[in-house]
Symmetry: C2
Subunit: 213 residues, 2 copies
């Protein structure tokens, strides 16, 4: 084991530090957020900070970087109150990563990268047709995180579109079967393999694995 104090981390070169800190926090989702501005210009961008906030009501958050670093998604959500979140699969992973490039505002990442915008469920924001698990959110609240000028964007779940073969009888979604990728750091993408599911834990019971499907 090595020990790295903050005083060392602070001296690191910018990209080394970004790789280290971004991968320290563990595996995470990577999803494409689809938005549209008031003129109908679509936008698509990869985010790895989607976080579950609650199931009832169903609230989902993501972290938006400072406005100057990542302006379009946030501005579109503020303008329309609506966005889609789309899982990423290996068949379009390269295009999904490429949405992190800083395209000008008048360029749609859908067009530039050959992904298909799909309009469903009366959502003005585009879905990614190629995605097998996707949902729309209505903006609930944007909470500024003052310490580093980022934002927690909170949305209320509206509609879900998914490949029904991954839905189990208890409501669980087998994302590994859909080939939804998982990510780490700023540029690494992974496939997953189920180890186990466990029953609801209680202090006086031994942990028990759920049977595999």
């Amino acid at each position: 084991m090595i020990h790295v104090p903050l005083s060392t981390i602070s001296t690191w070169e910018r990209f080394y530090r970004a790789n280290f800190i971004n991968s320290l926090t563990g595996f995470k989702s990577a999803s494409l957020i689809g938005t549209v501005n008031k003129q109908g210009q679509t936008n698509l961008a990869i985010f790895s900070s989607v976080v579950h906030l609650g199931s009832d009501p169903a609230l989902i958050g993501f972290i938006n970087r400072p406005v100057q670093a990542a302006p379009h998604t946030l501005a579109n959500i503020q303008a329309t109150g609506n966005y889609t979140i789309n899982h990423i699969h290996p068949s379009f992973l390269e295009q999904a990563h490429q949405t992190s490039a800083k395209y000008p505002e008048n360029v749609s990442e859908f067009e530039a990268l050959g992904l298909t915008p799909e309009f469903l469920d009366a959502s003005p924001a585009p879905f990614v047709k190629e995605s097998k698990v996707k949902y729309t959110l209505a903006l609930e609240e944007i909470i500024p995180i003052k310490v580093n000028n980022t934002f927690l964007v909170i949305g209320r779940l509206q509609h879900v579109q998914l490949d029904e073969s991954i839905l189990l009888p208890d409501g669980f979604l087998q994302l590994d079967q859909a080939g939804s990728i998982c990510s780490n750091g700023i540029d690494a993408y992974y496939a997953t393999q189920l180890i186990d599911r466990y029953e609801y834990a209680k202090p006086d019971l031994k942990p028990k694995k759920l049977p595999k499907v």
Copy 2:
């Protein structure tokens, strides 16, 4: 593809809905947060909502459920300003999941489950000795999320302890090599397998894979 509107989701039984909504948002980290109260009573609890907020300064957040549902970790962090986050590996996955049981305040999950508290780097909060990737945070801010009474707890990175074999020359951590697990939903745990890393994306360049190590 099936279509599920919110009006359907709202009618679902509580556990079915929790399984569905929690797995919809994609893969996520699952980590053990170690804390201690002012009397020296240690606490350990599994969280799947750790989120990267920024690299410079290095800020890491997690979502704490409403106080009545998850009181101990939050109270200890408020009392001491300090906590540890520890990756989970298959060798103690069962114990890690079992920390989600509602043990009384005077029971340490370390003792109840046979995990080893380790005190390092002048951190009053305990690390999990069995973990190969772990770090301490100093509390920066607790932001109440009023819409559902949850909290975004923000910490400033202090010290990192890790197995040096997973650290690449560019600062990236090969978490799959450490066997850090990833999670989905409320009870499913996964191993991961690298698909690819990509170079920093620019609009006028084709996406390029990084060579595998």
